[in-house]
């Protein structure tokens, strides 16, 4: 039916124009309808809503009163937080946290040397952002920085003393030697006897800076970072700080960083071992993974603490802090291996067959085809494992390491700030710290998951 026939229709009751749209009735749209369907949908729902509203109001009021309204914000010692001294009910005692904040961050690390910890913190943050921020350039260089440069320079900066100095000198020599070798080979490509002839011809065409593209930046970065540390060491000196003095968030981050840096490569090796067709390799991987996953972390830490010194000759007895670090790294690698195995299993068989039909060997196939895809899809799983690892670092307190939680425990018995509310304040501060870290990481992992699923979205 066309418009013309409508216009000519004889019947007066046929409407000629469209009515203006009416708003939806109040019972199905708008705030009232929302409240009715989401809060008061049934008698039981109404009761539940009222009860939970009451709980929320009472709970929030108590929390706000204790941690904000009644809280003490300034003061020099416990006198400021005692109800009978200041003549009003006292909530949280925040000056205690302010006063002890340095201790919570650095532990007993000497005050004059804390800038070293700060440098490592900055490097750590840089490495994390580099690896996790999607748009950051040069990811491979970032991985090299995070997994090789950062642990070495962190060790040198935090520990200091003769050991670190010797290591630093060797590292500098090594990177300098590599740089010289690299420069020579770039200018005289015919010296590079391992390069096949066609590639060599192409190299000759390019300008020296473009030749041998790949390891150039890695060597340069190692040279710059270790050189800077050497300059710092010459100018300011890096006296030894014993690991017994390390503490607070420094140790918490240290353990988590060591955990992730070692567990990821170990996890990859174990996961590949578990998927291997060679029976002995597979069996050993399975035994290791299932054994570690079957026991609590505390027993692994106790084992590291009491049995590691027995396993090695007495003169090599590991440092008190090194033992739980090894324990955590071993523990985390088993869980990481299972996550990565999940990723390997998700790669379709065609990828393996395609790689093999191109003539790639096992190592090349894994390195170039399989692992890049497998690791990418398990990033959320890796982050979730890391959240677990981060929470589990608190357990080192049980074997006497002063991580963040243990520094809080230690200040609670200090008479300077002994008040009835100190404990609650300290725990609240710790809870906020851990919550923000873990929650932030889980948000990140959800965001990655969404991005990875973008291809499947309709």
């Amino acid at each position: 039916m066309t418009d013309a026939t409508l216009d000519n229709a004889p019947n007066a009751f046929v409407r000629r124009e469209t009515l203006a749209q009416q708003p939806a009735p109040l019972s199905v749209a708008g705030p009232v309808a929302w409240i009715r369907s989401n809060l008061f949908s049934s008698p039981l729902g109404t009761v539940l809503t009222l009860v939970s509203l009451y709980i929320v109001i009472v709970g929030v009021e108590d929390l706000v009163r204790f941690y904000i309204l009644d809280a003490v914000w300034t003061g020099a010692n416990r006198e400021a937080c005692l109800a009978d001294k200041i003549g009003r009910p006292v909530g949280a005692c925040w000056p205690y946290v302010v006063d002890r904040f340095q201790y919570f961050v650095y532990g007993s690390y000497p005050v004059s040397q804390r800038w070293r910890v700060n440098i490592v913190f900055v490097m750590f943050a840089l490495g994390v952002v580099w690896l996790l921020w999607n748009k950051a350039p040069l990811k491979k260089l970032g991985a090299f920085f995070f997994f090789i440069i950062l642990p070495l320079s962190g060790f040198i900066l935090l520990l200091g003393g003769a050991t670190a100095e010797g290591l630093l000198r060797n590292l500098l020599l090594l990177s300098a030697a590599l740089a010289v070798l690299y420069a020579v080979v770039s200018f005289v490509p015919s010296l590079a006897f391992w390069t096949p002839a066609p590639l060599l011809a192409a190299e000759r065409e390019a300008s020296p800076w473009q030749r041998f593209y790949r390891p150039k930046r890695l060597i340069l970065m190692a040279l710059v970072v270790f050189g800077l540390i050497a300059v710092i060491q010459q100018q300011l000196g890096l006296p030894r700080v014993d690991t017994g003095l390390w503490g607070g968030m420094t140790v918490t981050f240290l353990i988590s960083a060591v955990g992730i840096v070692f567990s990821l490569p170990l996890g990859v090796v174990l996961a590949l071992g578990r998927r291997s067709r060679l029976p002995i390799i597979q069996l050993l991987s399975v035994i290791f993974i299932e054994f570690v996953r079957g026991v609590p972390l505390i027993t692994v830490l106790f084992m590291a603490n009491t049995m590691l010194p027995l396993f090695v000759p007495q003169e090599y007895s590991p440092d008190r802090l090194l033992r739980p670090l090894i324990g955590v790294a071993v523990f985390a690698s088993a869980y990481m291996a299972e996550v990565i195995r999940g990723g390997l299993q998700a790669i379709p068989k065609g990828q393996f067959e395609g790689a093999m039909s191109l003539g790639l060997g096992y190592g090349q196939m894994m390195r170039l085809i399989i692992l890049p895809q497998a690791l990418r899809i398990v990033i959320p799983g890796i982050v979730n494992t890391f959240i677990g690892l981060f929470k589990d670092t608190t357990l080192v307190a049980i074997v006497g390491i002063f991580d963040f939680l243990n520094t809080i425990q230690a200040t609670l018995v200090d008479p300077t700030w002994a008040t009835p509310t100190t404990r609650t304040t300290g725990y609240a501060f710790a809870a906020i710290f851990y919550f923000l870290c873990c929650w932030g990481m889980s948000r990140y992992s959800i965001a990655v998951e969404k991005r990875l699923a973008a291809g499947q979205r309709r």
Partner: protein, 397 residues
């Protein structure tokens, strides 16, 4: 392309060096040698070090006198007359006790919160979400410290105990319940209870057979309730109420009598069950969401009401998704119960890896025994899980 040579290259005899089979053998032999060497050198170092430190080895300590006391014990144990072997069982039973109760509580809380997160009631769903987020993002150890040091420790001392209805007292030494005293005739009640359970299972099987044959439904729930609760109750009354309570008495300095539950146990139980419940809630939510909406709609189209739809259609399918991760949460709870060591609850780790290890110095034996127990629990559970999974797996073409 004519430049490609057409004649095939005959596959010459590849050198042994490139034979994948030979290479595989070589890799495995090398790995075995390396692992063997590591174990051998570790073992010889252990022997060397133990000799240097004059520490005994072997399991002879098992029958030595323990010389320490444990506050919570399910079997008789005393500092004077008991051995390390008995200490092991005290610790093991305490671990199993807190784990079993924790699993029950965590399941109840976790399922409620998981269902609440999917509730159409906005405020309930948001509250459940906040619970899950807060609980899961704070380390368990901090939560245990909170429950033990910040909630239970500041309770008044025994002289100023808080009196709760039912003769229950609350103070910083724990919760003191009236101690039930069972008369000999109480055995009949227990027997009636067991018969009730057996009877209701038998009735359920019979009723299912009847339903399959005739389509008639029987009130299984009511029959079971009557058999399991009602029958023992009648026996209890008939036998002349063979149960009395010994109420705790408020003395001058302390409470005497009653059944004391230690604050370490309460803190660990509450901490473990609320923590694990946060994870179980997520498992449950994922399981329910995994059942597609079409299943509910199809059940409704068949004329099932919401109750039977849940019971017969949604829950069985959700359980298939829920149970495997649920078991691993249970295992986590068992493993996490070793955090007892931080608040001094005498579980296996605290008693054996802590006290006994410190007294004897025999690290190798203590660590391997303790790890062996947890490992056995884990392996047995995952073995059972595999069997269950095989039975529950979807049977497809």
């Amino acid at each position: 392309m004519s430049s490609i040579p057409t004649e095939t290259v005959s596959p010459g005899k590849a050198s042994l060096f490139y034979d994948p089979k030979i290479r595989g053998y070589v890799y495995q032999i090398v790995l075995l040698l390396v692992v063997g060497f590591l174990i051998w050198s570790a073992a010889s170092n252990v022997i060397e070090n133990l000799r240097a430190q004059k520490i005994a080895s072997g399991f002879g300590f098992w029958h030595n006198a323990a010389g320490f006391d444990v506050n919570q014990k399910l079997i008789p144990f005393s500092a004077s007359g008991s051995t390390y072997g008995q200490a092991f069982f005290v610790g093991l039973l305490n671990t199993l006790l807190v784990a079993a109760l924790g699993i029950v509580l965590a399941t109840i809380i976790g399922f409620s919160v998981g269902v609440a997160r999917l509730s159409s009631n906005w405020i309930i769903a948001k509250l459940a979400m906040i619970y899950v987020e807060v609980i899961r993002n704070i380390p368990l150890l901090l939560q245990l410290f909170f429950w033990y040091n910040a909630v239970l420790k500041p309770l008044p001392d025994a002289r100023n105990s808080i009196s709760l209805p039912g003769g229950i007292y609350l103070n910083n030494r724990g919760i003191i319940f009236p101690n039930p005293q069972f008369a000999p005739a109480f055995e009949w009640v227990v027997i009636a209870f067991l018969i009730g359970i057996a009877g209701s299972i038998a009735f359920y099987i019979w009723a299912r057979g009847q339903q399959a044959k005739t389509g008639k439904q029987y009130p299984n729930g009511w029959v079971a309730f009557g058999l399991v609760i009602g029958m023992p109750l009648i026996v209890f009354l008939l036998a002349g109420q063979p149960l009395s309570f010994e109420y705790p008495q408020q003395g001058r300095f302390n409470l005497t009598g009653g059944l004391q539950i230690f604050p370490e146990f309460v803190a660990l139980l509450v901490g473990l069950s609320t923590y694990t419940a946060g994870f179980i809630a997520e498992v449950v939510r994922a399981g329910i969401l995994a059942v597609s909406k079409g299943q509910t709609e199809a059940a409704n189209a068949l004329g099932l009401r919401s109750g039977p739809t849940l019971k017969l259609v949604v829950v069985p399918q959700a359980m298939r998704v829920i149970i495997p991760p649920l078991t691993s949460q249970y295992l986590n709870l068992v493993k996490n119960s070793s955090l007892a060591v931080a608040i001094g609850y005498p579980d296996l780790t605290q008693v054996f890896m802590g006290t006994v290890l410190n007294q004897t110095g025999q690290a190798v034996e203590m660590v391997s025994i303790t790890m062996g127990v947890y490992l056995t629990i884990s392996l047995v559970t995952s073995f059972a899980m595999n069997i269950y999974n095989k039975r529950m797996a979807l049977v497809e073409r």
